[in-house]
Each structure stands twice: as structure tokens, then as C-alpha cells.
């Protein structure tokens, strides 16, 4: 899997490169600023890009802007954005084109290597990886509309919004995949969302529902 990496701290850049290479990824280019990132994305068209949100020269949301701009040129280019803090506003902007293939995670999630690599693969496959913190704040503002859900169904909804598949949700909650299927069907029925077999479309529907005020 070809990866373009953008991270301005050399220690973290090297660490990420090492970790990615250790998990069957080829880092085709590792850059340390916004303009080189934009150029590298267009040049290599990688399977997935791992991008730090704050990059030189402005040290603002350079990485996010470059990612969104690149996806305008190469639709659905898979991009996983890393940040020291998460904002719903930025999650919204990343998901703006409703195409999937986006991830938005806190930087320290990298420390859980297995989960991080799983999220990266999901994004590369056109899926979604939302940070639990973003999901929690999305769920937090929809309390009225989620009243009808049982606590278990809310848990399933949260994990689904993070972008996990039924199998992953099952292993996270220590239940069978069939049980997860039943819970998610209930969630979709209670929220009045159309059922879909496609994991990714299902996730996008959930995120759209949660974002919608």
C-alpha cells in the first residue's frame, strides 16, 4: 500500500514511517509542509495519505486545506488526518463531499498500533475513521433525538459512527456479529434511516444524521 506522509516534526515523521513500513505500507514520500504535500498527493496519487493538520508555512490548518483541495482534484482520494485536537467543524468539512475514504483521528491514537493500522486500511478501502471524541460530541448534541435508543444501541451507533464494521463492533463489545446486526437494524429503524448493506454508505448515513440539527 503506497502512503504519502505529511508531518513536520521529524521524530514523529520517522516514527510513523517506521511503523507504516512495518505493516506492509510503502511510504512513497514523507513531506514536512503544506505546499509539498499538495504536490506529492497529485504526483503519487497514493492509496492513502496520512496528514498532520498543522503544517508549515502557516502552522494553521494547512494539512486539512491541502487534503480537501487534493480531493477536489482526485475525488475520493483516501486521506487520514491526524491532529493534536479534534474539532467537529473540521470533521464536517472533511466529510463535506460525502464520499468516504476519510479519517480524522487524534494524534495519540497512533499509540494503539493495531487500531491505527486498522483505521488506516479502512480509510484506504474507502471507509471512514472518525475519532471517538468527535463521535462523542456529535452524540452529545443529539440527545433528544436519540432518546428512543437503548444504551447498547447507543454504543453500537457510536462505534458505527467511528466507521467500524459490524465485525469490529462485535469484537469491541464482546458480542456476536449477529447481535450487532440486530442492534444496528433497530437503530436504523428507530432513527428512520434507510437500511443499507454497504458498510461505508451506512456510516455516512449515520454521520449525516448526527450532524444534522
Amino acid at each position: 500500500m503506497d502512503v504519502v506522509l505529511a508531518e513536520d516534526h521529524s521524530l514523529l515523521r520517522d516514527g510513523l514511517t517506521r511503523m507504516l513500513e512495518a505493516h506492509d505500507c510503502t511510504v512513497v514520500e514523507a513531506v514536512d509542509n503544506g505546499p509539498s504535500l499538495a504536490a506529492a498527493l497529485l504526483k503519487h496519487r497514493p492509496d492513502v495519505a496520512v496528514v498532520d493538520i498543522r503544517l508549515p508555512p502557516t502552522f494553521k490548518d494547512e494539512g486539512l486545506r491541502a487534503a480537501i483541495e487534493a480531493r477536489r482534484h482526485i475525488p475520493a482520494l483516501p486521506i487520514l488526518v491526524l491532529s493534536q485536537y479534534v474539532e467537529q467543524l473540521y470533521a464536517r468539512e472533511l466529510l463535506g463531499d460525502r464520499r468516504g475514504g476519510v479519517g480524522y483521528l487524534l494524534k495519540d491514537r497512533v499509540s494503539n498500533v493495531t487500531e491505527f493500522i486498522e483505521a488506516l486500511r479502512r480509510v484506504a478501502a474507502g471507509g471512514t475513521a472518525m475519532d471517538p471524541e468527535v463521535v462523542a460530541s456529535l452524540l452529545g448534541r443529539q440527545q433528544n433525538r436519540l432518546e428512543s435508543l437503548t444504551p447498547r444501541e447507543k454504543e453500537v451507533l457510536g462505534l458505527m459512527a467511528e466507521g467500524r464494521t459490524n465485525a469490529a463492533i462485535a469484537s469491541a463489545l464482546f458480542v456476536t456479529e449477529k447481535a450487532v446486526g440486530k442492534h444496528s437494524a433497530n437503530v436504523f429503524r428507530k432513527l428512520g434511516l434507510g437500511q443499507s448493506e454497504d458498510d461505508n454508505r451506512r456510516v455516512l448515513a449515520v454521520l449525516a444524521y448526527l450532524e444534522d440539527n
Partner: protein, 436 residues
Amino acid sequence: MPANPITRRLALPGWSVLRFSLTVVAAVLLAAAIVTGALVVFWIGIPVAVGVFLAIRVWANSQRRIIGEQLGVDIPCPYRERPKARIDQQALWLIREAATWRDVAWLAIDATLGFLVNLIYLCVFGVAVYYLVQPLLLVTVFQSAPIPVVNDFGFYDFDTPAKTLMLVPLALACGAAWWRWGELFLRWYSHLGVLLLGPTSNAVLTARVSELRQSRDATADHAAAELRRIERDLHDGAQARIAALSLTLGMAEELLDHGKPDKAAPLVTEARQTCSDVLEEIRQLVRGIHPPVLADRGFTGALQAMALDHPLPVSVVDRLHDKLPAPLEAAAYFATNEVLTNITKHAEATQVQVIVHHEHGQVEIEVRDDGRGGAAVCPGGGLDGVRSRLAAFDGTLTVESPEGGPTRVLMTLPAVATGRREPDNASRVAPTADAA
């Protein structure tokens, strides 16, 4: 004073009569002041003088109101705040104050010049009205009455109704003069009053300096408290956790050295968890110092992010066209954030609206909610903190919150924009918070 020039002119004689009668009061007060001034030589005069000065203040305040109303200006009270002290010290403070003596000067002017000015004005008006209607009255209602003596001008006696007609041109001339110059005349005199009754530029500056000193002290206190909080948070939080982390890793290292990787693994997992906790703590701390989204997107973006994170639906109307200077952005952000947090805690609202304007070098942030109202700025409360934060930038906070709601909090900050807002590529892709 009415804005219409005709009704304004017609209302003026009434004002003039009022001020004319007040000049009589002024004359009495002036006489009292002179007499008590002489009496001060004997001790008994001192309390009387204080009483007279206080009476002059009451009179001067009524003058401020009347003149202010007439000219459509606000004449601020020039008196300094009365100190809490013994009676005799208060008396001394009263006598030392420059504004007291300026009041006395205006008293002398109003009792003499003011008397004349209003007398002339009213005479001209009276002559115009009287000689204009006199012929009419003499041939109708007062047919049998003798011709009034005011028609004997010495060099000629207009002693028949027909002859009084010859005085109509005089009335018309006076009327024209009254119409053309009467208002200007009174205004000129009133402006003289504004000069003496208003605060001197010195007094204005003194008040401003004391205001600035207060807000500077508050800012310094606030900054010191913030630094203490940050120091404490780092000391009790991140530093302590990192120390524990290094201990855990040390133990894991030892176990690995002794060839017990299975026992080291849980320690490493624990260390990783501690890392996440430390990062989370630092994140919270950074948000409190300067939220990253504010650095990235400025106040506008941070406001959108704030609206999205709020548990209630917050609609944002942002009419800010320019980027604000960085210190103001932070002040505006924290103030708005505090008000929004207050709403979550106390208001029991279902809808919140934030409106941001930038006009005439002033940023206005208005936060409305449909909650239960009754919000007030009480010392030490959240809104009081916002007020003092804004005061450091010459900003203000006003709260309208009747019992039962709705609540409207208006914050203003004087601001000179630093330039055009940067083009916002990323935010154009997504729906903005306006739709939220």
C-alpha cells in the same frame, strides 16, 4: 426639543419662560452665596455655606438637564465621587472641587446675563405678538375700552385703533427677527452654559485615567491568576503523570532486562494509557490558553466550531468582514464561550442565537436565548468575569434578562480591523454553521 424647525421655534418661548424664572432662583442663590461668603469669617457661616453650595449643585443639575434637552446634547456631571469621610472633610472636598466654582461662575452669569438674554428674547416675541393682534382686539372685544398706554411712544401717540395698524410693521419686523435669530440667540447662550457646566477636559482625562487604571489592575490580576492556574495544572497534571510514566517504563525496562517480557507488557500498556491521559490533559490546558481553532480560523471559524460543539442548537449570524486583531479575537472568543456555557448551565433554553456585527470601529456580539431569564451580572459571577475581561479592551457587557426570559446579552469591543479576512477555502466546501 422637537426636530421639526417650526414646532421647535414655537416651543422655545416656553423654554425661555422656564429659564427666565430660574434666573430669578439663580439671583436668590447668588445673593445667598455672597451673604454666606461674608459670614464664613464667623464659624457659623461654614455649615451654611456648605448648604448653599449643595443647593447650587441641585440648581446646576437642573440647568444641565434643561440645557441638555434644549440643545439635544448630554452634559455629563463633572463632580468627582464623594469620598467616604468625616463631615468637615467632605465640606473641604466640596469647596476644593473646581466644578463647584465653575457652577458658581455660571450662577453669576445666569443671574445677570441669563436674565437679560431671556428678557430680550421674550420682549421681542411679546412685542411681535402683541402689536400684531392689538388692532383686531381693539375693534372687536375691547371696543369700548381705552387705548392702552403702551401705544404712547412719546414722539407719537397711536391713540385710535386705525393708528395702531401703523404699528403692525414693527410687530412684523420683531416677528421676523424672532424667527430668524431668536433660536440662534438662545443657543449661543446655552452653549456658554455647556462650557461651564460640563466637565473640563482635565476632568474627563482624570476620569478616563482612573477607569484605565482599574481595568489595567483587573487585567494584571487576571493574567497572574491565569499563570498560577496554568502552573498548577501543569504541576499537578502533566508533570506528575510524566513522572509516573517514567517510573512505569523504568520498571518495564528492568523486567525486560531480567528476561520477563510477559510481565513487562502490561506495564508498557499502562505507560501508553498514561501518555494518552497526559496528552488529553495538555489538550484541555491549551484550549484554555488559546484554542487551536482560533489560531487556525480566527474568531469566525472558532465561533462556528463553538456553535457545533454546543449541546443546544446555536445559529450564528456572522457579519464580520474583516479579521480582528489577535488579542481582541481571543477576548471575543472567551467572552462568547463563557456566555454560551452560562446558557447551558442556567438558562434552560432550547434555542440560542449569536449575532456578530462590525460597525463604526466597534464589534458587537449579541447572544440571545429563549431560556427562563433572570440572568444578572453579580460580583464574582461568570458574567462579571466576562465584563472585566472585556473592560480590559474598553469593551462593555449589557444583559437584558427579564424573569421568564428571553435573555439578550450584548457585548461590544472597540476594534480597528487589521485587514481583509483571509480567503477561507476549506470552509467553503462544507455547509457553514449558519445553516445549523
